[in-house]
Symmetry: C3
């Protein structure tokens, strides 16, 4: 049984979560997908989960915790989908992935350590819930079924002559992942203009990095089928000075 | 059997340590708690170990290596406590955790790879010691018993009208973990003043982030029961420009 | 069976690779050596692999992917050596390690996921190849044997009065790993001068950090037997403002 972990925690918090899981469910295999989501950036967390969950074996339990609302009234939830389980705060981080796979049931977890702190529910609630599920394999026992949840959708508006979208993730290479996919619109062989601070940048569409020159500003279909703005062997983020949530027209 | 790893090494050194352990004890489960302790910062390493060790299953072997004295005469030690084993340099990094759990015995390890370098005892001494212990389960065979060790205590002085303490860890969110705990002094509902560079900052006590406004400077009880100075969805470290070891009055 | 992972990917890409491997070969033990090689820096990747591969159990499958040529005609290869397997792009990253262990056979892999993207062969080709090899234990089935490959050698020229070499890796402490080893030339007890921007720096040879003063510029034999320029409890990279590939005379 695999439990994966996506957080904005860094050390030592991710390590503590692993300890809690191993204490409850010693035979679980814990795989860290990310411990370095930008702090409080729910949207980046949602993208990382969305782009990675489907590459794991069926029945994998995915934890995703970016949780600026910890200690408030926001719910801690577990979602059963067609092929996976998802555990995290009810702030939308789980939703793009869960919806794509097909939501079957959502429950508010009542599983926790004996003492619940007000700042670290990853340790006190989410880790025990994931470990309980891995061990007991009984989704119904996690807690009460709920029907309402906080949604999260990547923003996009596709007009006749222009596109409005947003940056949903920036990777280590400075590639800017956009909220539009190849089945939203076919950009291949089209000339694209990006407006930013009253400047116009021309962006060349390519099929692969190898078709661009070093330092050239390009757009291509990324590995999760979202379009990405990139600079070959360069850093588009630093060049354009953009960040997650920036709207692009 | 679990071996955990806390270091300031980064890659490739942590990976090499894992290879050495797996070669000697193939069935061990290695869990990395941190590979990014600030370089040479023994105190941060001690805090990370202290705040995480107790969440792992009993008998877990915890390695913590921040080792500016590598190659000198400092000893390489293993500590048996009530519930755990601790392995690392004799510079105090293991002590707050080991003392809390209850020290039973300390030994100077004589276990090593055939060749010992002068710069990387994590690979040559600490990893073989941890793997030997995981495999042989014989603490006595590690080496000679010793009675003296280098201590480390988090500094604090609690006066009638003010507190002297230090920052013992700064996490990824810029939260400043202080050396005072809730059972040292009850700060709840008190007005706190922080003096820094002849400026006075007023800090509000809250029970949880959700009770603060965005950007507000707050103090609250952290997840390890140490008080933390924080800015809600902000970065207290950058705002106050403080670092580990800074004394706070 | 162990598969190790060295990349410049960061999250979520390394996590996705682990998912692909676990789906194909559930019992494999995946050990991440590095996910933070400087972007596109093949030489640093080659050094990290070279310095770590030999500390893993025999038969370990080492993946190393720094791949600026992804999507071009560069081959995806697997190398069988005396004791290990190596998988990665044919750009030299595998070669220093594979040559040292003794190359037996090189094959171009034909193993992949059903759909191959143009930007993420780590997920689509290298991970399936490693997992296939771990599961089937049949190197011949990976693909056609090839005889030509792209070489990579660390540059060095040792003259009578001076040495030309390059920096092949910079670690987290700012230590500058040079391309010369102790069996190239014995530097101990010699006076060394480093020329940089028309300034001359004197560098003291020491056997171990403990023999240097804090802040002193030193050279010593590193843990992989390459010489390293270092500042005791300081950062030689920031002080000298050098980077990987810089030639040093």
């Amino acid at each position: 049984m695999i439990i994966t972990l996506i957080t904005d925690f860094g050390s030592p918090y991710n390590g503590i979560i692993k300890g809690v899981i191993k204490t409850i469910a010693p035979n679980v295999d814990i795989i860290e997908i990310s411990s370095d989501i930008p702090p409080f950036d729910i949207k980046s967390g949602a993208f990382v989960l969305y782009s990675s969950y489907k590459f794991f074996p069926k029945e994998t339990i995915h934890m995703a915790i970016v949780d600026p609302g910890v200690g408030s009234e926001r719910k801690a939830i577990a979602i059963k989908t067609k092929n996976y389980y998802f555990i995290g705060p009810d702030n939308g981080i789980l939703i793009p992935a869960a919806k794509e796979d097909g939501i079957i049931e959502i429950r508010e977890t009542k599983i926790s350590l004996p003492y619940i702190s007000s700042t670290f529910h990853g340790r006190d609630i989410f880790a025990p819930t994931a470990a309980f599920l891995a061990k007991e394999k009984n989704f119904e026992k996690i807690g009460e079924k709920i029907n309402k949840f906080n949604d999260l959708e990547f923003f996009k508006l596709i007009h006749k002559d222009f596109i409005e979208c947003e940056i949903i993730f920036i990777d280590r290479f400075g590639n800017l992942v956009l909220s539009i996919k190849d089945n939203d619109i076919d950009l291949s062989n089209r000339k694209l203009l990006l407006e930013k601070d009253n400047k116009i940048y021309e962006i060349k569409y390519v099929n692969t990095y190898a078709n661009a020159n070093k330092g050239e500003l390009i757009i291509l279909k990324g590995s999760s089928n979202f379009y990405e703005i990139s600079i070959r062997e360069g850093n588009a983020k630093d060049f354009l000075n953009l960040s997650v949530d920036n709207k692009i027209i």
